[in-house]
């Protein structure tokens, strides 16, 4: 056993040295690319096809509004990373503040999405059932919104725990890191969606 233990030390480099949950989260996130990739592909395929019932999503976008809510989500990544940083400095108060700020910014984004969907349906006249491009738009942004919603719930849970226990323990610190990874990921997916789906979208020739 002693000999084995001595030899063990030489083999230590094999272990990845990464916590199970952190590795698991990254592994999971890597598969999410395929998830959102399928949704974006789906949208790209349909948004440019002529002959659908109007309107196409790109006809009724409100770019200034979406830019604003995108900006909120982008800045929530900053508050998220500041929360993580505050916890690393053992500044529990700041951690709580930044957590709440992140959840708030996430909620702003979600609220924006609810508003946008409502506008599109009532004013723009584009429903899920209008045409395949509209279906694809709602499915894509809807699933992204669902991810944000889960993120907000997780952030609020962390905030709740922190309030109730007076602090976030070291174990919760890892939880915070994991929620952060998830949150940033949702943000980078939106960076792609904002560019590809909103800014680069057009309507097929002959429409509009």
């Amino acid at each position: 056993m002693e000999a084995a233990a001595a030899m063990d030390h030489h083999d230590q480099h094999e272990s990845t040295g990464i916590d199970h949950r952190k590795l698991g989260m990254w592994v999971f996130l890597s598969s999410e690319f395929l998830f959102f990739g399928a949704l974006i592909t789906n949208y790209l395929l349909y948004q440019g096809q002529p002959g659908f019932a109007r309107p196409y999503p790109a006809e009724i976008y409100d770019i200034p509004f979406t830019s604003f809510s995108s900006f909120a989500l982008l800045m929530s990544s900053l508050t998220m990373v500041l929360a993580h940083n505050a916890l690393a400095r053992h500044d529990q108060h700041a951690t709580r503040t930044w957590l709440l700020a992140t959840a708030m910014l996430g909620s702003v984004f979600l609220g924006g999405q609810v508003f946008e969907f409502t506008e599109f349906v009532t004013v723009g006249g584009m429903k899920l059932t209008t045409n395949p491009a509209a279906s694809a738009f709602y499915l894509l942004t809807g699933f992204h919104g669902f991810h944000v919603l889960l993120g907000v719930l997780m952030l609020l849970t962390l905030y709740g725990i922190s309030r109730r226990q007076g602090e976030l323990s070291e174990a919760s610190g890892l939880n915070l890191e994991l929620v952060g990874l998830y949150w940033h990921f949702v943000d980078i997916i939106w960076i792609v969606i904002f560019t590809v789906v909103y800014l680069l979208a057009g309507v097929p020739a002959g429409v509009g």
Binding site: S30, L34, G37, T41, A171, I188, L200
Partner: protein, 104 residues
Amino acid sequence: MATHPGEHHHPTPLQYVKIAILLAVLTIIEVALFYVNEAADMGGWDAPLLIILALFKFVIVVGWYMHLRFEDSTLSKFFTAGFILALILYAIVLLAFGVIALGS
């Protein structure tokens, strides 16, 4: 766990804020590009520019906010594997549908 060797290299809050400002500026450029293209057609040049800008933002968030730059390479291998695989597979699908075309 919190005392991971990589933690030392993490940026400071100030650096995080600077990064956020950079991200904000990039976003403003993106939206501006969109309107420039609306006003005067850029002849298809908007697409590559916007994609490059988005990728730039993407890399910044992943690298610094998600600390991927400072992590064990196993994690970045997984992450890039998923990203590249998705990119290739869906590019082929879009090619098959003629949504994107090679050499045109």
